[in-house]
Symmetry: C2
């Protein structure tokens, strides 16, 4: 019998994966994935960028490159982080990764020994939970309110648990809850982080996708002690098919991520990084993001309207200021994983909330994505979901 490493006991096939598979079948109304709207991909412009890269610099694009990734793209990323997140950094403090999922994986591997503690929001992103599980940590989930992580609860843990090695948060349009931390919460968080000197992973895949309210500074922009590791990605503002994300961190920490990257995959794709860099040179990425924001902002608002109209009043949901997701909480006695197949039978898919809790603590929630379905599908799907929910309510 083949013996596998103990970490593999934590990494298993999930019911969610099965739902995502079914969700892509033709005719399905899918609120399940976190897919960008494909009709917004700038295919023509990307083609021009690809041709330009291969024509001007083809042999470099096809060759091995540096572990941190194509330098001109790292310069552009640093410029963008200053413009969008008020983060002052430079190319030497950025490592390009294979999507921000690889940044999550590296984070677990850089900071966590087995049984070390990682603090997360409750709920938190299932992809991050899964990545960290490979390092066999213990998860401590901090309760949240509509403004994100509750600071008094966080301090209780930091003050009493000496195995805490990192804190993972998504302050902007959190996946799955759709919530955003206000400025005061961010300041209070950074005070605690500085007091206890714990590394923070700030995951910000959706920060540029704000539909209402004011942009807020990233935690990284308030980081005076070099404790915040910032994860960004081109997946939501350009295209996930390239698998290009990045890590921005202080010297000491980024050096560890670079060693990890060297061992894990040598380097990110040279050609992909050069194409994205060329796209940014040739075209207006900001204008493209504006177009995405307009479409997603409309769909977000429309889904919220539909939920108000079709969901029973027992269903409590987020009205997000940005991002890709809303989060629905049903009465405690409803198990959304058990309800999912009933909805799939009616051609509507969502992600049951259980996967967003590391120990499956809550069964009565669901995550809904609004970015890749058109209005009529949103209305039809939400009305079907509302109908099923009503069947599940105790009369």
């Amino acid at each position: 019998m083949i013996k596998f490493a103990s970490r593999m006991d934590n990494l298993k096939g999930s019911a969610i994966r099965e739902i995502l598979k079914v969700a892509t079948m033709p005719g399905m109304i899918s609120f399940a994935g976190g897919l960008p709207a494909p009709e917004l991909f700038p295919v023509e412009e990307i083609t021009q960028a690809a041709v330009a890269v291969l024509k001007e610099n083809g042999t470099k694009a096809l060759q091995y490159g540096e572990t941190p990734g194509y330098e001109p793209l790292r310069v552009q990323i640093a410029e963008r982080m200053l413009a969008k997140n008020n983060i002052k950094t430079d190319a030497d403090h950025i490592l390009i990764t294979s999507g921000s999922q690889q940044g999550l994986d590296f984070s677990g591997r850089v900071f966590l020994n087995p049984d070390d503690v990682v603090i997360i929001e409750s709920p938190s992103y299932l992809g991050a939970i899964n990545a960290f599980k490979a390092s066999e940590p213990k998860f401590v989930s901090i309760p949240t309110d509509k403004d994100g992580m509750i600071m008094s609860e966080l301090e209780k843990v930091l003050a009493t648990n000496d195995r805490v090695r990192m804190i993972y948060v998504i302050p902007d349009f959190q996946n799955p809850s759709g919530r955003t931390w206000p400025l005061e919460r961010r300041k209070a968080f950074m005070e605690l982080v500085n007091k206890y000197e714990v590394p923070v992973i700030e995951d910000n895949p959706y920060g540029e996708l704000r539909y209402k309210g004011e942009y807020l500074p990233a935690l990284k922009s308030m980081d005076t002690k070099g404790l915040v590791v910032y994860l960004g990605t081109f997946s939501k503002i350009l295209a996930p098919g390239y698998r290009l994300g990045w890590v921005c961190a202080s010297d000491e920490i980024l050096a560890k991520y670079n060693f990890m990257a060297q061992a894990a995959s040598l380097q990110p794709s040279t050609i992909s990084a050069m194409e994205v860099s060329k796209f940014i040179d040739m075209f207006d990425l900001d204008a493209h993001v504006d177009r995405i924001r307009e479409v997603y902002g409309h769909r977000c608002k429309f889904m919220v309207e539909c939920m108000s109209k079709y969901f029973p009043e027992e269903a409590v949901f987020t009205d997000p200021d940005g991002g890709l997701f809303t989060w629905v909480e049903l009465p405690d006695y409803i198990d959304t994983a058990e309800m999912a197949p009933k909805c799939l039978e009616k051609n509507v898919a969502y992600v049951p909330g259980i996967g967003f809790f590391p120990y499956g603590e809550k069964k009565n929630c669901m995550r809904l994505n609004y970015s890749c379905m058109k209005d009529e599908k949103i209305e039809e799907g939400i009305s079907i979901l509302g109908g099923v929910m009503k069947d599940y309510l105790k009369k």
Copy 2:
């Protein structure tokens, strides 16, 4: 003070990395990297394939895809493995990775707990050693002769060490030694593997690049118990800039690699996989590989001739049947890491052998790459190297 995971103690900056950085400077004669010759990249054909993919199927190329990678490419890989390596498999038994380095990393993570034993050849590929170190194993190095790993030595370890969890080998044109295991050695190896039922990682990045002698069947083609994990890559037969490799394994093992991939990076690049698939559809990859073989085969032969001419007789080197590297062994008292800066001063770079031994056991070897330097540079560089060697010999 920030606490890092214990695995990070194993992953550090190396002198080799510094040499590789210097090696790419203009004017340098570099035998250091394992870079394909850039003048052979089929830039025009790849441009056509890229344009075709974006035109015909752009929104799919830019979107998220499946964890195992673009299915039509997996079908093509399976066909190629049958044609080139006599391995009967199919798309469901293949996982596309971010270069075969990611396959190496996954291998360590799937099979190795801290202090478990991984068996390797002595010497072995430094990138694999580095990848495995992240899983904190113990390495047991098996002595080799000109025909590769010595089977009686392997059996001694298998018979007595109950912590062995995997065996890592490169039977074709090994990196760094340039040696190839003959058929009898392969058969004897598989008998031992079947007897002791240990998983094997067969790394075969260079198998198609044979310059003389007969192609030999892959270990995977003789695998009757589903114990061999085969790693392949497009880096040497097409272009490393795409970062596309693959893992082929039996159901039980591949399922673990898929879970690992989901946690580590979700999926390989959609657009890169589609472009390589389209290239294979539109053009003749075999003809392209023939062209590479012709050029590298010539350079290999020429470097061997130059070594015979310029190296002192105390330098013992491999005359490879294929691949990218030859390996030079000098008298025990010469430290090639100490000698490297002297050669860099004269604009010649190589990789000191020490990195190919997990505990730095041998200091008197060097790896030389012949694929990316033209004849006049090979002759000039080898003559300079020979001169420095002679200065280091005890008179």
